[in-house]
């Protein structure tokens, strides 16, 4: 029986075609095609890019402490350390993302610092405040600009959906030392037309409990010389299309690495950043919005106190952006945007022995650059596939202009999907990258990247499986050349060509779930000498060629879960002490096994577990020859957590 008259009231629900959807039978509903609202609302498998989404529930089950723990489980990602206090930044598909190559966005606001464009992670973004992480595993420059050459990580913090406040405490301890104590909160409310959100954290801990051996051979313990403090506060308010955000965060830690343990006192690194954003979504017509956005960022990134001298940069970035998004029925979705930003810096105080003297460095003058960009993306569906075409033109006042296109084809059939994505992407060097180049007498231009990706996926019966292969070529790669000028400097080097694959399977049943992933890359060509693992085949320095992640969750009830997560890394190559001096050394394979149990009693959730259960020696390596030996991570730790919802 047709159900055309099943609902007697089914009249007058207008559709774009003038039909009546409430008059359709169940069978008709199952077959009717829908116009999907926008690119943003597409299911992951239909998005015109290789995407990973991690939910708050997954984060809670794995017992993650911060964003670093989450990114480690994502195919293609790993973490590298740099000489500046062992600062941790992500790597992706065999390339370092430390300087302006991986864009980190929190609640729509870019987080990369304004001196180098670095996404500094690690004990800075509390996992308990995160509602969702979306990772664009591939270049995003056409949409997101010059800091998104390799990938884009979008973090959404908890807010009004909490309807109240969640407060949590996570504590980790090694056998002899409390390694971390993190207090966090998140919450919000909807009051009349207003949606309010707030989140933040305070963290005290150490970066590592291991021992560091410098390239020169001196060894010292970090347990008492890597104290770390961080804090953040994020506020949001939205009402009838208007939205405002304020974000503040500060992270500081003891640094004995830079001086190789040779200084008579412990030095200190600090990042402090304030960001604000105002936007208004103007509904011009049904399906057409225009959103102007103003963003202001001020900070003191890369601060350094050494032997009584202080180095402090003051940076500011002012951005104006307007986006028009038109969603049509049958004609596709069109995004057009224009952006202008001014970024500026001055050196308030400097450490003269490192070449940072305000009197000579910027000549007591403020350095600034302007950048203007126009970009577009057009997504349209056909019966055969969904196509996405986009491009960006960006003109930087100092390093020149670039045009980058992107093209994606997404096809779904039955439970399968396939994606073919081509991107040209670029990295705009930021203030200090340009400055060190000019100081050393070299000119610098944007580096570019061509990437081709193909993903095949299956969804069904509680199972999702995806496999992707990629090829990328990074041209005119920018790197820090220690032999340039007096103190070294950045310059464009040659090309790097990598290829590889990422495979992920997830199976979920009512009371258990399992997931596994494997990713690998091989360098086919690397002309940037300081990043080559000379004599060791197809690896780039500091980045593992092979990574596997295995997870198994047992969920006996709605309130209890137990999860074991294992991250298995292949060997890496990095500069280290070889008994006589510094040379390329093997960093052994690692297995980082964690176990976490959580149980909810009414509004309180308790957790207990262990990280690095096997006590493996974990290291983060520098992805180039820059004077830093592999930095030890945390050893075996007991993890305790408690969260309450009010």
């Amino acid at each position: 029986m047709q159900l055309a008259a099943a609902i007697s009231v089914a009249t007058g629900v207008a559709t774009a075609q003038g039909g009546d959807v409430f008059s359709l039978s169940l069978e008709d509903l199952a077959e009717v095609k829908v116009s999907v609202a926008s690119v943003r609302d597409r299911p992951v498998r239909e998005q015109p890019a290789v995407v990973t989404v991690i939910t708050a529930e997954q984060i809670a089950r794995m017992g993650a402490i911060d964003l670093l723990d989450i990114l480690k489980t994502v195919p293609g990602f790993w973490v590298a350390a740099d000489v500046v206090g062992g600062v941790l930044t992500p790597t992706f598909r065999g390339l370092a993302g430390g300087e302006g190559k991986i864009l980190l966005i929190v609640d729509g606001v870019e987080q990369n610092d304004d001196l180098y464009g670095a996404p500094v992670i690690g004990q800075r973004y509390a996992a308990a405040t995160i509602r969702r992480v979306e990772i664009l595993r591939g270049p995003g420059s056409a949409r997101y600009g010059g800091n998104a050459m390799l990938a884009v990580v979008k973090v959404f913090t908890k807010g009004a959906e909490v309807d109240g406040v969640e407060a949590s405490l996570q504590s980790t301890s090694s056998a002899r030392h409390q390694t971390n104590e993190l207090w966090s909160f998140a919450g919000g409310a909807e009051i009349d037309d207003w949606t309010l959100s707030v989140s933040g954290h305070v963290d005290r801990g150490v970066k590592s409990t291991g021992a560091y051996t410098s390239p020169a051979g001196s060894t010292f313990a970090l347990e008492d010389s890597s104290d770390l403090d961080s804090a953040s506060l994020r506020l949001g308010a939205a009402c009838r299309g208007f939205a405002a955000r304020l974000q503040y965060d500060d992270i500081a830690w003891d640094d004995v690495l830079f001086a190789g343990g040779g200084d008579t006192q412990v030095n200190r690194r600090e990042f402090e950043q304030f960001r604000g954003e105002l936007s208004y979504e103007l509904q011009v017509d049904e399906g057409w919005t225009i959103t102007p956005r103003l963003t202001c960022s001020r900070g003191n990134p890369w601060g350094y106190t050494r032997l009584g001298e202080t180095q402090q940069f003051l940076t500011a970035r002012y951005q104006a952006q307007v986006e028009s998004q038109l969603q049509t029925d049958g004609m596709g979705d069109l995004l057009v945007g224009v952006s202008f930003y001014r970024v500026q810096a001055e050196l308030e105080s400097g450490i003269t022995s490192l070449g940072f003297d305000p009197a000579t460095y910027y000549g007591d003058e403020q350095v600034h650059h302007n950048d203007v960009a126009v970009y577009t993306q057009y997504d349209f569906d056909t019966d055969w596939a969904t196509f996405s075409v986009g491009a960006r033109y960006e003109d930087h006042s100092t390093v020149g202009d670039k045009v980058v296109p992107r093209l994606a084809v997404t096809r779904t059939w039955d439970r399968w999907h396939g994606k073919l994505v081509y991107n040209r992407a670029f990295r705009v060097p930021q203030i200090e990258t340009i400055n060190t180049a000019e100081r050393a007498g070299s000119s610098i231009r944007p580096e570019t990247l061509d990437a081709l990706e193909f993903e095949l996926g299956y969804t069904g019966e509680g199972t999702t499986a995806t496999g992707s292969v990629f090829w990328l070529e990074n041209q005119d790669s920018i790197f820090f050349d220690t032999s340039l000028g007096t103190n070294g400097g950045n310059r464009n080097g040659g090309d790097i060509e990598n290829w590889g694959g990422e495979f992920e399977v997830r199976h979920t049943r009512a009371c258990w779930s399992a997931f596994g992933s494997y990713s690998f890359y091989q360098s086919r060509r690397n002309e940037v000498a300081p990043t080559v693992a000379t004599g060791h085949g197809t690896a780039n320095l500091g980045v593992p060629e092979h990574k596997g992640v295995l997870g198994l969750s047992w969920i006996p009830s709605d309130v209890t879960s137990v999860q074991a997560t294992a991250i298995v890394l292949g060997r890496r190559w990095a500069y280290g002490y070889d008994g006589a001096g510094s040379s390329v050394q093997q960093v052994d394979p690692e297995v980082d096994l964690s176990l976490f149990l959580q149980h909810r009693i009414d509004r309180v959730t308790l957790g207990i577990g262990a990280s690095n259960l096997l006590g493996t020696d974990i290291y983060y390596a520098q992805p180039y020859d820059g004077g830093l030996a592999p930095v030890p991570g945390q050893g075996r730790c007991l993890v305790l957590s408690m969260a309450a919802r009010f």
Partner: protein, 198 residues
Amino acid sequence: MSTRLVSSRLLCAALLVALAPFAAAQQSPVAAGQERDAAQGKEYREYEVKAAYLLQFLRYVTWPKRADDDKAPLVIGVVGKSPFGKVFDSVDGKEVEGTGRKLKVKKFDVAPKDAELRACHIVFVCKSEQPHLEELLAAVADHPVLTVTEGDRMIERGVAFGFVLEERKVRIEYNSEATQRAKLKVSAQLQRVVVRRL
């Protein structure tokens, strides 16, 4: 010279491998079915179709008798930031044929008190509330409430019905354990359009 050449070959090989499944899929019966749909020229907005499904659920699911059955409206509760807009406006408050009862659509921006949830016949959990899906399900556990949400693998999290998008079509996934616990009877006709069952 040779490295560049190999890169071009690799690029071509990757393109060929990538296009192969697309070509295979184009010849499949599913693809042929899509062409028929296109020829019909009918296309609705995603949430119009999902709203229509919710109303069909009221007809094809049987709830246990309640004392107020003869007079009380059939209630659909939408919890979270509603994506339906004004889709329900033309049917809200009007009679659902075959039941003699009116439809009532209630919108809760955030999760309401348990008693309000339990008073609904259908609870649709919007994406904004999915982080707290387990708590919402706990609130209506063992009560005759049909829980519905959208997104991949949601029935594994305990909802009775999950909407998923496949080839731009709204499909239904069904968790029979959830409806059994809620003492709801799902008709065979509705079960026939389910694409995945747990």
